[in-house]
Symmetry: C2
Subunit: 342 residues, 2 copies
């Protein structure tokens, strides 16, 4: 009620309704694309529902399109194409989650293998493949080879990020530079593409300032999102976050707070910290590490890095795109990345 | 020398040289597409070389293009496009091999897990993803959205076949109908696409008789190839085949000879056979099964099924495509599937 006195209320309200409708369409498009004549495939694909989360990537895609040319989406065919592209991004993301799950299940298996988990693993490999295959299949329906190639170039980069991360597993002295290189490729390339390729779909030149601003916005939001993920994995509340924590270290993955904590140490205390990391990766309780990282100020330092990225992202968007309800919602979405608890 | 008296020798000789050159180009295209600025990615992608085998799929693609319109490949741009498509198929195939390897390694791990194998598993998941992503990326370079969508539709089908197979693992009473449904999707859809989409690339209508004949040829060759694979896994010579045998049963997969053996039994002997299969899947020595299957005539029966498929495939090709050195080589390739020992 009080919001109606805000002059921006009505456009934001209309935008939210429009966004919600688009996300509903994304869900329907997602389900329709995956439908198979084989019941066993539909059963397994139905499991993907449990991975469905914040729909961050479809939101970025739809809001970017609206921010570039809201009126264009009054045309139902254009709207449908934006929905298809947003669905492609969600499907790519789900595929990476399902395959990450394989790695996670592998981890669980290290502490007690069962044949059932093994079967789950195999099904997860194939389900991830099914999702990525359908993502490309759906993308080709847009009849835009350059766009489809850009999507594939993005997934090439995502895979490189995953492989780079894998090659640095148990590298407890990984540099901050390498860390950022990993998440730029693994996470930020996809969120950047969500924003910039929506603009491309609406006819913005790929090398234009609007596309570049949206790409930069999406990338920075993606990096910040990952940093907050890192922080939550280390100091979040398990019940709130909704998944078991401390998994990064348990999997031998150094994250920004850990890297900054180690970087602030030298001599014997650094050696002790590295040995604690190795211990946690081998299964020791990471509680002492959590306390030491928190006491070192590295959590705040990581949060500040994320905040600076979000400030940059919003600044870039405000400088390059005209004011609109969609642009404001993108800025809100970026800010929400910092305050999320799960 | 004696071959020079054969009037078909010269065209076949010229064709073989041309095919060899195309396959060399496929190898170069494969390597160029996978090149990354990250050394760790290049190191891992280099491992794919060890999977490089008979190049059956690129051969089918290149020979099909030559059989449809050999003169068209005198144009270097057209030749390059055929090479790209052939490379896409090889890359898709390699991706499925790498992910199959994950399942195989999982199997090895059941008999004695090591952390190293686990790391290999994770890298294999990501490497397979990297390959499939690059396959689509390369495919989009052809600037043919309909063709790219057909390739993605094929990989959708391949994944369905894998998932159907997975859902029937340890189903020792699987029907022959389901078995053929699995390999039609998992194996034959890709070999069919190798042949028919090459024709599409050269301008043949997707629903024309030439495209349909090539699709049928490729599918039948793929099914026959899989049946012979099944036979070799059961009764091949391990040193000749070059991989450990009896893996199908060890992984709970029933193959055509096994299905026909069980189908020929009833009452108590059928129950014993099914229990033997379950035992082999649980790790027992499959020697008794091999002897029983051989004695039942099911090996010959499976070989006859493969022979009938190859006869059909060749007949279809000869009926629908004009005679040419490439058509003869396709027929030879089909015949070679039956006599292969590895």
């Amino acid at each position: 009620m009080i919001l109606t006195s805000d002059p921006t209320y009505e456009p934001q309200h209309a935008l939210d309704a429009r966004l919600r409708e688009c996300l509903d369409q994304v869900e329907r498009c997602f389900g329709a694309e995956l439908a198979s004549d084989l019941p066993c495939v539909n059963d397994l694909a139905g499991h993907v529902e449990r991975y469905r989360g914040k729909m961050l990537r479809p939101m970025l895609a739809v809001l970017s399109a609206l921010a570039v040319n809201e009126a264009a989406l009054d045309d139902s065919e254009t709207l449908e194409r934006v929905v298809v592209l947003a669905t492609v991004f969600e499907m790519v993301h789900m595929s990476t989650l399902v395959h990450d799950d394989v790695l996670d299940e592998a981890d669980v298996r290290r502490r007690g293998a069962t044949v059932n988990r093994l079967h789950g693993n195999e099904a997860a490999v194939m389900l991830g493949d099914y999702l990525i295959s359908h993502a490309y299949h759906l993308c080709c329906a847009l009849d835009e080879p350059t766009l489809a190639r850009a999507v594939a170039a993005t997934t090439n980069t995502v895979c490189e990020g995953e492989l780079l991360q894998l090659s640095h597993r148990h590298d407890f002295e990984i540099t901050e530079r390498t860390y950022f290189e990993i998440i730029r490729r693994k996470t930020a390339s996809l969120t950047g593409a969500c924003c910039s390729l929506s603009a491309t779909l609406l006819g913005q030149p790929a090398d234009g300032t609007t596309g570049a601003a949206l790409a930069a916005f999406g990338e920075k939001v993606g990096i910040a999102f990952q940093i907050i993920d890192d922080v939550l994995d280390l100091v979040g509340d398990e019940a709130t976050v909704g998944k078991s924590l401390g998994r990064d270290l348990a999997k031998g993955k150094m994250t920004l707070p850990l890297i900054r904590w180690v970087a602030g140490l030298d001599g014997p205390s650094r050696a002790v910290a590295l040995s604690q990391c190795a211990g946690a990766a081998a299964g020791s309780d990471p509680e002492a590490i959590r306390r030491a990282v928190a006491a070192s100020g590295a959590i705040e330092s990581a949060r500040e890095a994320a905040t600076a990225l979000i400030d940059d992202a919003r600044g870039r968007l405000i400088a390059e795109l005209p004011d609109s309800a969609a642009r404001r919602r993108l800025c809100d979405l970026a800010a929400a990345v910092l305050s999320r608890r799960h």
